[in-house]
Symmetry: C2
């Protein structure tokens, strides 16, 4: 049974599993992309779908609200409440969501919507600024830049606000040259679509491109007016596998506690399962599969080859990577550990907020809530 | 632009994606297992980790709180607030969590903890009722019933409350006989461990077994005192793939809206991505892979061979199953659809609560919040 002082020490820290954010690491990531995009002469419109936090947004944007991108109307309302007035809602608009768009506009928010069909354009026409989604790599939605449909949508809108491209396939690149090529393709397709619209008499003021990989590897953004990226604030093992960052740049991790061992199988059990990490296994499709995540000490030191190899709802199984020559570290019951995420967007979404420390190894200094739901 | 009456109709329904619960379907699932377990002469201790809702618990347990199982202390506190006083916390206890266990006991909650090491037993000894976790299939944690460690843990505890077994490998069964064998193995291992403890002079009053598959296929539970199961309230495509239920028994689904089409690829795009469904792809390991889920109309009618085949954060891609002879249904922009989950525990956890209707096809009648966090 624990003595009183142990009990008191414990109640001042959150119960594991919890989400930890290293503020200095995030700030360095933010500064890196800000300088890069400024050097290319383009505006950054950060995508806040990864971090979903007004407090993190302040690190990204600064104290004066600027242009942002969101993935849900819940985010749009939360950031409008925090004073943001230039918001791009970058998911194809369902007509049933227009009343919420109008409600935001009535609060003097310029909420720009996204669409890729005549049906959507007819529902939106004249009532909200709208970007036309252009398909650059067959990844998801969007109109091909040469498709006659592009001009039909523009005509239905009357005055399209511009075009938007997202190089979703860049997440599957295998080399830096492939990432550079994905970035140039994203730019070229966006500019091609804008040029066609302008030739047809539309002003098309906005040419919006972006993904975290392409934002970090674009060499030229001629013709582009703004870049969107969001994951880069936190980064993750998928981005490290792509070569966009290193594991040391990963700013958010799940803190778990050792709750048992299976020496015969070389397993260390923790109290953090997929409920805490998400089921995302993005690195499974990469050359180096990181399981459910790399394991670090609380101060950020990586245990070589130690992975979270399996997960049930509230249990994690840690083991050495198959074929590793390392020795399983001695981590007694009660040891706190950090699990670096495969995919920051998915892992952070499993948590209601961030327990923040200023620097790796420091004490927790703040709690920053996340926006939930839709 | 939408007319006023369309706007009014829309604001009375939730924004998609949202989580929908069919109460009558859940109630039928609940009645089925309740009758089955009663017929085997054993007490049911439902696991509320799947549904995480005081309102759903009322369907499961009735108006008078009874014995329950939880997977987090956040659930334990929420159900204690709702009047539950007999709670099993079925994740290996981290000593740092004991102050919360004591806080619950101070509120006259009998909170039983779980452990499988001497270190945990020494931390808990005498301060809380504790079950010893027994390993029946090498799935996760637990002590083998014949391991000398079992008696060491019991000695450290002084008076173990009993043993607990979870047949986690039953989720990978391939036939009804395999499920029946997994249930009998779970029972036999639990009874073997209890018998050893009793031979060593421990009373061992509780012999707890359970998983949704084994609970539905156990033919005899001699020696068992209680059965835990949770998923069965909602069921999902993994359980349907195992033969434990049919797709019509699945009580919770994600409602999404069509936002676009890619006729060239045979894709229908929706506003429900992995943020709404989770990344869980449990059926990928089964003979029939259901993608991110089967697609139904709002009234529950399944569109033959139509799957959610891909997901990004807030986009779902629907397409016909590979090799299907079906024709892609005509589903215009704005059509609401339901996605049946691979794994109810994971999908429901992406949502803050359930939008409830009494019967499939009926109107929404209630909103039931879920317990979040740890």
């Amino acid at each position: 049974m624990l003595d009183l002082s142990s009990r008191l020490a414990i109640v001042t820290t959150p119960r594991t599993p919890y989400l930890m954010l290293d503020r200095s690491v995030a700030s360095a990531n933010i500064a890196r992309l800000r300088e890069r995009i400024a050097g290319l002469g383009v505006r950054l419109r950060p995508h806040l779908k990864t971090t979903k936090s007004v407090d993190v947004a302040r690190l990204v944007v600064g104290d004066v609200p600027g242009p942002i991108t969101v993935s849900t109307l819940a985010e749009a309302f939360a950031f409008a409440d925090a004073g943001y007035t230039d918001i791009l809602y970058a998911v194809g608009i369902a007509p049933a969501k227009l009343p919420d768009v109008y409600a935001l506009q009535a609060r003097d928010v310029r909420l720009t919507v996204l669409l890729d069909s005549v049906a959507q354009a007819e529902a939106v026409a004249g009532s909200a600024p709208a970007l036309i989604e252009i398909d650059c790599d067959g990844h998801r939605g969007g109109v091909l830049p040469g498709d006659p449909l592009l001009l039909d949508i523009a005509a239905a809108l009357g005055a399209p606000a511009g075009v938007l491209v997202h190089a979703g396939e860049s997440y599957h690149a295998r080399s830096i040259p492939e990432l550079e090529a994905a970035a140039e393709n994203e730019r070229a397709v966006a500019v091609e679509a804008a040029t066609r619209l302008r030739a047809a008499g539309h002003e098309c003021p906005i040419v919006s491109v972006g993904s975290t990989p392409t934002a970090h590897f674009a060499r030229d953004l001629t013709g582009v007016t703004e870049v969107r990226a969001g994951n880069y604030v936190l980064f993750d093992l998928v981005m490290a596998g792509l070569g966009v960052c290193t594991p040391a740049d990963i700013a958010a991790a799940v803190v778990v506690t050792v709750i048992g061992h299976n020496p015969g199988k070389g397993w260390i059990m923790t109290d953090g399962g997929w409920m805490a990490t998400s089921r995302d296994r993005g690195t499974a499709a990469q050359p180096v599969d990181q399981g459910y995540g790399l394991v670090t000490a609380l101060d950020g030191t990586i245990f070589p080859d130690l992975l979270m190899v399996d997960a049930s709802q509230e249990h994690g199984t840690l083991a050495l990577r198959e074929g590793s020559a390392e020795k399983l570290p001695d981590l007694p019951v009660g040891t706190p550990l950090r699990i670096l995420p495969n995919h920051a967007c998915a892992t952070t979404a499993q948590h209601d907020g961030y327990h923040v420390r200023d620097t790796p190894g420091g004490e927790l200094t703040a709690y920053w809530p996340r926006v939930r739901g839709w």
